[in-house]
Symmetry: C2
Amino acid sequence: MVLYVIGLGLGDEKDVTIKGYEAIKKSNKVYLEAYTSLLGGSTSTESLEKFYEKKIIIADREMVESGCEEMIEESREQDISFLVVGDPFGATTHTDLVIRAKEKGVPTKVIHNASIMNAIGCCGLQLYSYGQTISMVFFTDSYKPDSFYDRVKINMQSGMHTLCLLDIKVKEQSIENMLRGRKIYEPPRFMTVNQCIEQLLEIEDIRKEGIYSKDSFGIGLSRVGQDDQQIISGTFEELKDVDFGEPLHSFIICGDMHFIEKEYFETFRIKKN
Amino acid sequence: MVLYVIGLGLGDEKDVTIKGYEAIKKSNKVYLEAYTSLLGGSTSTESLEKFYEKKIIIADREMVESGCEEMIEESREQDISFLVVGDPFGATTHTDLVIRAKEKGVPTKVIHNASIMNAIGCCGLQLYSYGQTISMVFFTDSYKPDSFYDRVKINMQSGMHTLCLLDIKVKEQSIENMLRGRKIYEPPRFMTVNQCIEQLLEIEDIRKEGIYSKDSFGIGLSRVGQDDQQIISGTFEELKDVDFGEPLHSFIICGDMHFIEKEYFETFRIKKN
């Protein structure tokens, strides 16, 4: 039997491919990875269940981080689908899943789909001209990891664009609840473009290497691949207070723009009052 | 009415999304962009026509480069689908199409899909750790563009991986036929992993900056996203003579590998005799 690892794309239940849909329909069990990403907009587990006519089992952080051993074993006896928002290889954990299943002799089939890593092309900056992607995590008073700054520095010095993936917190425990072993989880949180810009500027203020400033060009995006996606370009300062609405948000720090890229950038330029 | 710009993904006719399929079904005309990429494996225009039950009009180089004006105009009166292998924003020309349609007040809807830019995650190297992508074009005796070398240099110096997209020549005219205005086209050609490695080493031999060598690590991939995809890792020397079979091929120059990436690399390591 086969373990299907299926990308759902970025929008709703109809963004699955026909190949993916057929695999889901013939699977005995369907898991949904709901820890490294979120379903788009109004899409819910229920809307997936209704459309696929299948019960969906949530694979949460504990299950995914502990390696989905049970699921791999089940795939020896029956067809199993493991659904992932975006493309299966957006997150390291899923690469690991496929490799371990392979090592255990369990046949896997990966069904690709769009992810933010390629759909970001919608803003007009060429995919070829991005450097390393950074992940921006929520700062706390005592924890402000700034290793992204060095990556942005390399990108900027070579004129490359930087895609910033913004933190989401799903099923997080407060420190108190964790210490007390209480399985009580905080409500999901996602980082906004505004928070990302603030954190970027906060670290520039500390490092002071002049890699970017409030006058640098950026592009804020929300709900990429969904019907109500938003793309707004401008300086960090201009974008700092724009309301990008519902999750997920992404941000691009523009490197050197080719004149055609510059044209697209202007197309999406924030309206000034 | 709407101009749908629809990614077909990397495999066969069933790699379209359900949303894309529904748009195709209700379109009055369906164009297939067959110039910047190739349909996967045994997939043909005919197999698409059969599956979608729609006549497919080939949008060739001339049509795409001249801007598809007619198609944009048609979209004012009727629903039109423009199909693209991979994701619509893999190639600059399609970004341009969407922006121009928008300027003319023609509603467009982009339906994303997988492309090599994200599906490449299948080899286990993290998408986050790639630098700029390079395009390797066919060298001729008098034309050996080496600007890629500087990009690889930047990537390597910062430990980033480099994805090399390999040239395809579809509907090319020989210089003689072009000069004589004869619309006779050469058979399609695609670059192999082997040719890519040869050209990489040829330029290193000229530039001699020691950016990579025959002992550098690389990963050759063919037919990514298709049932018979191949992934083989090794040194450039080891991979130089490996037969990767049918198109399309891609190549990755490995930057610094994290220990988990190294593990995946070994999983795909070429069998030594």
